[in-house]
Symmetry: C2
Subunit: 388 residues, 2 copies
């Protein structure tokens, strides 16, 4: 069978395999990024007009595009509804952006670590990925300047607010510095913000796209983390030089996003009910974050370092004594514990051993301590084996 060249770059998805293993009910899973089941809001469908069953526009529902543009403007993103494209979950933004920008060998700039599924999508299209080391308050600015001086990336893909996996929230100063550098070098920014609304500790985080003066940009978000991921409704907002191409690529990919999910999203976006739901969600996840922090202090204080995440869904642990955390997966699953190894979040996995991504939204607090105790034991045993 003669497949395309890109199929050779199609990785078997570690995430899918881990999540499949984690679906056994006895498994305590810190692996996924799923919303907690009890926090999925009850939704009503009775009022949906029959016309939502018909074909729709590739751009998305006009009223939803207006609502998303209004929310974005309130965040400081300068945009009109005409710049909003409704996508089938924000994963699709990565596919469309890859098609727009990436030929085999095209350079793209990413945080190190970065979102695994973005890295895989860009690599599938043949991108030559360049990493910028991440610090507690955002990317190393000197490294970013050096990369921009030495390379010609088609775009920079950044997740500045509660990054997956590192949970980093860029500081104001770094947001400004990044924007200034992208303007200086004329590099397009793709800013991915799935976790913006899942904030537990207040603080300013105006999007970087709102600080750009010249560079083109795509800003992308989703309803999956705050409403219902099963709707598969996300969006992108793009500068007018990019929008028409993204629209045609969207049409070629799947004609348009399902309208029933779009209609449901519109019932919530900007409503008092949604504000109330977001407040409940933050309170719920804050408690789980705090419970995880307590349990980590108990079981991991001597094993790893970490920052307390101010938002999002993950803790990012750095082992004091690094080892390839992929080797821990099977022993952990044998103890009915699932987690996400850190290596695949890096462009060169083998050069970045010793990180674990732990989701805190899914495991119920009463099982948390036991799950982390078992995971710590697996790590201790592996490290003892290394020392031996």
């Amino acid at each position: 069978m003669a497949f395309s060249e890109r199929v050779a770059r199609l990785k078997s998805s570690l995430i899918r395999e881990i999540l499949a293993a984690a679906q056994r009910p006895e498994v305590m899973s810190f692996a996924g990024g799923l919303p907690a089941e009890p926090m999925l809001p009850k939704v009503e469908w009775a009022e949906m007009p029959a016309s939502m069953g018909q074909y729709g526009m590739s751009e998305g529902e006009p009223a939803l595009r207006e609502a998303i543009a209004a929310e974005a403007r309130a965040l400081g993103v300068p945009c009109e509804a005409s710049q909003v494209l409704i996508v089938s979950g924000s994963q699709q933004t990565l596919d469309l952006a890859s098609k727009l920008f990436i030929d085999p060998g095209t350079e793209v700039l990413l945080e190190a670590p970065t979102y695994l599924a973005a890295l895989q999508a860009f690599q599938l299209f043949g991108a030559d990925c360049i990493g910028v080391p991440q610090e507690a308050d955002g990317p190393q600015i000197d490294a970013l300047r050096q990369r921009l001086e030495q390379h010609k990336p088609a775009f920079a893909y950044l997740i500045p607010t509660f990054q997956n996996p590192s949970a980093t929230r860029y500081s104001e100063a770094k947001r400004d510095a990044v924007a200034a550098l992208l303007d200086e070098f004329g590099v397009t920014l793709i800013e991915d913000e799935p976790y913006r609304e899942l904030v537990f500790d207040e603080g300013s985080a105006t999007p970087i796209v709102s600080r750009l003066r010249k560079a083109s940009w795509i800003y992308t978000g989703t309803l999956s983390k705050t409403l219902l991921p099963g709707l598969r409704v996300g969006y992108l907002i793009a500068t007018p030089d990019l929008f028409p191409y993204l629209l045609r690529l969207k049409q070629s990919a799947d004609l348009h996003t399902n309208r029933i999910g779009q209609w449901q999203a519109l019932q919530w976006l900007g409503s008092e009910q949604y504000k109330g739901h977001l407040a409940e969600l933050r309170a719920f996840y804050r408690l789980r974050r705090d419970a995880m922090q307590q349990a980590l202090l108990e079981h991991f204080a001597d094993l790893a370092d970490w920052q307390v995440p101010q938002g999002g869904l993950f803790f990012w642990l750095t082992l004091k004594q690094p080892l390839d955390t992929r080797t821990l997966l099977n022993p952990a699953l044998a103890e009915n514990v699932a987690f996400m190894p850190g290596e695949p979040f890096f462009i060169e996995p083998d050069r970045h051993p010793g990180h674990l991504r732990l989701n805190f939204s899914h495991v119920a607090p009463e099982r948390l301590g036991e799950g982390l105790r078992r995971l710590a034991a697996v790590i201790r045993q592996a490290q003892a084996g290394m020392a031996a």
Copy 2:
């Protein structure tokens, strides 16, 4: 702005522009392929479990995959549920298959004419498209053999049952002949069947994939023509050598298809209610097909030749005096009539003037005669201009 090479191959979508123009309420549109609004079934959502709001599997809902496999087996397609992938409308099958097979310069085999959006999707990925002329009962078999002897296509993309745009239903003999040739040359078949259930005149049409003995295949269908296109739920069934790649490509494209649409599709598929709905749909469209035939005989008998479609949604007209039908678009729209020019359905549009695709499902019968009268007048005027 440095875009990817493929963006240069991204055509402005004539379809989208025509459909946009056709949305003005005063326009009588024969352009689209939309189901008739009165035939969109009333659907219920009250029983949908809350769990459909959570993330799902990239493969799709297990029960829906089972139901689709059962329906396919009843048609003679040998398959298991494990070979079924739920996609975001069958347009997505074209995107996934393009990713799986097409590098710039990869040869693919298509009917001439073929489905416009498929042609555009394959060309976007850089396919070198090879056409096989279509006759009233399917492709010219001699031409097909000759193409297979002279080329090495990665796949053949065929729409054997009520093809869009030509409405052709392959004969039994041609189905067998095509299968034998694809087996002989070891060429993968992509068989696209959106219109299978919209049949007005009985007759056998077992899928070609069920006649293959060796060649790999992808069989793709959709709920969009028979239930609700707004759900964006389609499917593909693939041989086991192709399935794992298509699954990973699906995950990279949009994680999974929306679950609410999948749940709704499952309520209908295989039910008595669905069988009743399909019977009503066929009766409704048969009447519209017959009304269109009458109106065409009245207004187009001296202008064009055509076959009466036995299924699907379109008449395909061949002008007795060919001209570039794209030049008729603006004069027709000035008369508040929209139609689809035939040229873009061919790999080399300029070499195939003189066809029109007319949809018969959308325009109400009482406006049909007036719409076709105006369209015929536009054609007569253009032909008179050519003669002058």
